[in-house]
């Protein structure tokens, strides 16, 4: 009997006696739950898969592994060991994805494994169905831990799809819009005019067209003239040093309150930033709307939001100009594409966040390349790749996420276009979870970093 027919039959029965007759089929953990009749098919392994026997592919997921990868803290931030997910299939095709979650590596790895029973034995070509199975099927929707776990698995599923169909993921999404690649920006810092000028020369020599900086101070809910002036003067110094041609964005990192943000935004308009990012905390779009309504500086936000649902208010209210989902948290390729599609209809551009490892960064490029509303791709790296660039090359076999003429070139291999060197992973063994860096104001109160 097909699942829907079974559910229809159950709904038709609708009596306690009917439920009692079916009790042997129920999972023992659910017999005292009022929703027990609806979950009879929990005995199906993996859940729901039998219904697709005649309409799916013959490919099956046979194994899932999760790898924690810790880099020396002098190379990469200690709070974010990379969490890589590997899916294996009965045809030998494997897929890779990234579920890195800052400050919660252990939780993300455990959550990936929690989802294993939903995946082993299932058809990896059903990427939308498996996304929904993990998202809706988890009952408690969203949150960064589940979001990151789904993200890693979803990327691996798309990797498998692409390899099976012998196509890069961006082609399956209808791209590339621009075959030259996707525009990117690096992180940067400069504290003096001389440093800013030196950075300008180095950036231009590397062919890079955009950079992103941080504010100079932590900010409280109400701020003093001194700190506001320092923030504004810092950005004025950057514009003077970088010159008029180099684009730069400033990440407020949700440090200001909406009121403080509005004041700063008003004064930096003449600097024509590429965008101002997370100008206040992200949970309350109405509060953000109050802060941005007098500013013409493009406003970006969204790296901490999960699932396409998390962006609906921002899009509907027209609060921001640019959305920044992180493919390692939002729900992988599937969710990032959905956010991009919704943003496009409202004239909102995409500049996806990526401040974790190389798989997520590369996966993001695929969605970027297929989005007509794409603006720029972030990566946590500097103009000078440094030691982290060497480690990524060790892991991936090529200098991953390095721009050429201001763009990340698109992978030409099928799937995500990455092959992880598993022997190299062993050189960076998981050292456990490290908490996200915390910061405090002068009076000891916790600050938004």
């Amino acid at each position: 009997m097909k699942r829907r027919q079974l559910l229809t039959a159950l709904a038709g029965a609708g009596t306690l006696a009917g439920a009692s007759r079916r009790r042997p089929a129920l999972s023992s953990a659910l017999v005292d739950c009022g929703c027990a009749p609806q979950i009879v098919t929990a005995t199906d392994k993996p859940p729901g898969a039998a219904a697709f026997r005649d309409v799916g592919s013959k490919l099956r997921i046979t194994n899932m592994q999760v790898f924690g990868v810790t880099l020396d803290e002098r190379i990469a931030q200690a709070d974010r060991p990379y969490v890589f997910v590997k899916l294996e299939t009965n045809r030998g095709v494997v897929g890779w994805g990234e579920a890195t979650l800052e400050g919660k590596a252990g939780a993300a790895m455990a959550c990936v494994l929690d989802l294993k029973d939903l995946l082993i034995g299932s058809d990896p070509m059903q990427v939308e169905h498996l996304y929904q199975l993990m998202y809706l099927g988890s009952f408690y929707r969203g949150g960064p831990v589940l979001g990151s776990a789904i993200s890693g698995i979803d990327q691996a599923l798309w990797d498998i799809r692409g390899k099976v169909l012998n196509m890069p993921v961006y082609e399956m999404l209808g791209g590339p819009i621009d075959a030259r690649g996707v525009r990117g920006y690096y992180h940067a810092s400069a504290w003096t005019l001389a440093e800013a000028r030196e950075l300008r020369d180095k950036t231009k020599a590397a062919g890079v067209t955009a950079l992103k900086f941080q504010l100079p101070d932590l900010l409280e809910w109400v701020e003093t003239n001194a700190k506001i002036k320092r923030a504004v003067q810092h950005m004025e110094m950057l514009r003077e040093g970088l010159g008029p041609d180099l684009d730069f964005a400033v990440d407020f990192h949700a440090r200001p309150s909406p009121a403080v943000a509005a004041t700063i935004l008003r004064e930096i308009e003449p600097l024509h930033l590429l965008f101002a990012e997370e100008i206040c905390p992200p949970e309350n779009p109405k509060a953000m709307a109050r802060a941005v309504r007098h500013s013409t500086t493009p406003i970006a936000t969204g790296e901490r939001l999960i699932g396409s649902y998390g962006y609906a208010d921002l899009i509907d209210m027209g609060v921001v100009d640019i959305l920044q989902p992180d493919i390692a948290h939002v729900g992988g390729v599937t969710a990032l594409w959905k956010v991009s599609a919704a943003a496009e209809a409202s004239g909102i551009r995409m500049a996806p966040h990526a401040c974790e490892g190389p798989i997520g960064g590369i996966a993001s490029l695929h969605v970027d390349a297929a989005g007509p509303n794409f603006l720029a791709q972030e990566i946590c790296g500097f103009v000078d790749a440094g030691e982290k660039g060497r480690v990524w090359e060790d892991l991936m076999g090529f200098p991953a996420m390095r721009m050429v003429d201001g763009r990340y070139t698109l992978p030409s291999k099928p799937g995500l276009g990455v092959d992880i060197n598993e022997a190299a992973l062993k050189r960076y063994p998981f050292q456990g979870t490290r908490p996200f860096v915390t910061a405090f104001h002068e009076d000891g109160a916790v600050a938004s970093l």
Partner: protein, 379 residues
């Protein structure tokens, strides 16, 4: 609340296209088209066939188009890969019927080349069968009887019911009673297991539509489709604030922005992009927006069988897709012609659901001889 933030210029339009390729198995080498006219029903639609350099073919259907528009589409696809769907979506956005036909033909071509069904290419099946909704012909119970009988024989259990238009001399209460009687007559003909969508055909004022919706909401039609042509937020508010009957809208929309606005204002409950005016690629984007508003999509279709079957593939691959509307002609000649085009009757189901065709592309062979026979023009 919508703020006065400005819309970034250029967003939503592909400003740079991938370069045309010179040699690739998926390079589009040929576009042929048929301007088809159905006998008796007089439905018109456009069928496009794309052929790739590697020899794969793909078929897609859109609404009626002129030969000039088809020639324009031919120029747009020249040298493009069949995977360049985002480029084509932008390039043909002023020719919605051809955006649909060419976009769907590209999906069929790539899926056939990769030896998978379209629903697999679109992200894999999220359901193993697709709910189908018969679009009946006729405005009265007597007129719709032939169409209803055929639909029931073909396994449909859900039907659209076009409500009578209001004569200016009929008082509102008498009109509401007339609609109620019409629904009752059809229900009695179709039997107790039938489900109904009321089709207003955009012919009512918002006030009349609200009165009908309030009067009939307790008989639970699946939804009230296109109740009015006044698709402004204020016009629709009259209906959605007075009644709990779900409202379906959008059969004439050709851009995603129109749906986005109505979804944001909470003015519609079932998104109904027309398959003749929107490619599956475009509708998938609309579905992604609707999903965040917990709203289902049910593509409208008043075209031919190739479009209808493409809609089944979309339904199979999108979680918030509820049903695919399929026209069921009252004329035997029109019904035979539809079956002939798809090399046998495909627009059918069992207990209200169509089976998914687990074969490459659309899942059936398109009969070009039939297309030739029923074409007003072949281009």
């Amino acid at each position: 609340m919508r703020t006065n933030r400005r819309v970034l210029p250029g967003a939503g339009v592909a400003v740079f296209g991938p370069p045309a390729v010179t040699d690739h198995p998926l390079k589009i080498a040929q576009l042929r088209a048929w301007r088809v006219k159905e006998p008796d029903s007089n439905r018109r639609y456009t069928i496009v066939c794309l052929k790739s350099q590697g020899g794969a073919s793909g078929y897609g259907e859109g609404g009626p188009a002129t030969s000039t528009e088809i020639a324009e589409a031919r120029l747009a696809v020249a040298g493009r890969l069949a995977t360049d769907s985002e480029f084509i979506r932008a390039a043909l956005h002023r020719l919605p019927a051809l955006e649909a036909a060419v976009g769907n033909a590209m999906l069929d071509l790539v899926s056939r080349a990769k030896n998978i069904p379209i629903y697999q290419y679109l992200g894999g099946p999220v359901r193993h069968k697709a709910r189908i909704l018969a679009y009946l012909e006729g405005r009265t119970a007597a007129e719709a009887a032939l169409s209803l009988e055929r639909a029931q024989r073909q396994g449909f259990r859900a039907f659209t019911l076009t409500v009578p238009q209001r004569d200016a001399m009929i008082p509102l209460q008498a009109y509401v009673d007339l609609v109620r009687k019409h629904v009752a007559d059809m229900q009695s003909k179709a039997g107790p297991s039938s489900e109904w969508v009321l089709d207003g055909d955009a012919a009512m004022t918002p006030g009349d539509a609200a009165a009908v919706a309030v009067a009939l909401e307790r008989i639970h039609p699946i939804w009230f489709d296109e109740p009015t042509a006044v698709v402004t937020q204020d016009g629709l508010a009259k209906i959605v604030e007075e009644s709990v009957m779900p409202i379906g809208l959008g059969r004439r929309f050709t851009d995603i922005v129109g749906f986005q606005g109505l979804l944001a204002s909470g003015s519609l409950h079932i998104v109904r992009p027309g398959l003749g005016l929107n490619s599956l690629t475009k509708i998938k984007r609309i579905a992604a927006i609707a999903e965040t508003h917990y709203v289902a999509i049910a593509p409208f279709h008043d075209g031919g069988p190739i479009g209808a079957m493409a809609g089944i593939h979309l339904n199979a691959s999108v979680l918030n897709a509820y049903a695919q509307q399929i026209p069921v002609p009252s004329s035997a000649r029109a019904a035979a012609m539809r079956a002939e085009i798809t090399s046998g009757l495909k627009e059918a189901g069992n207990e209200g659901f169509a089976a998914l065709l687990n074969r490459p592309g659309l899942g059936f062979d398109v009969n070009e001889k039939a297309l030739d026979a029923y074409s007003e023009e072949r281009i």
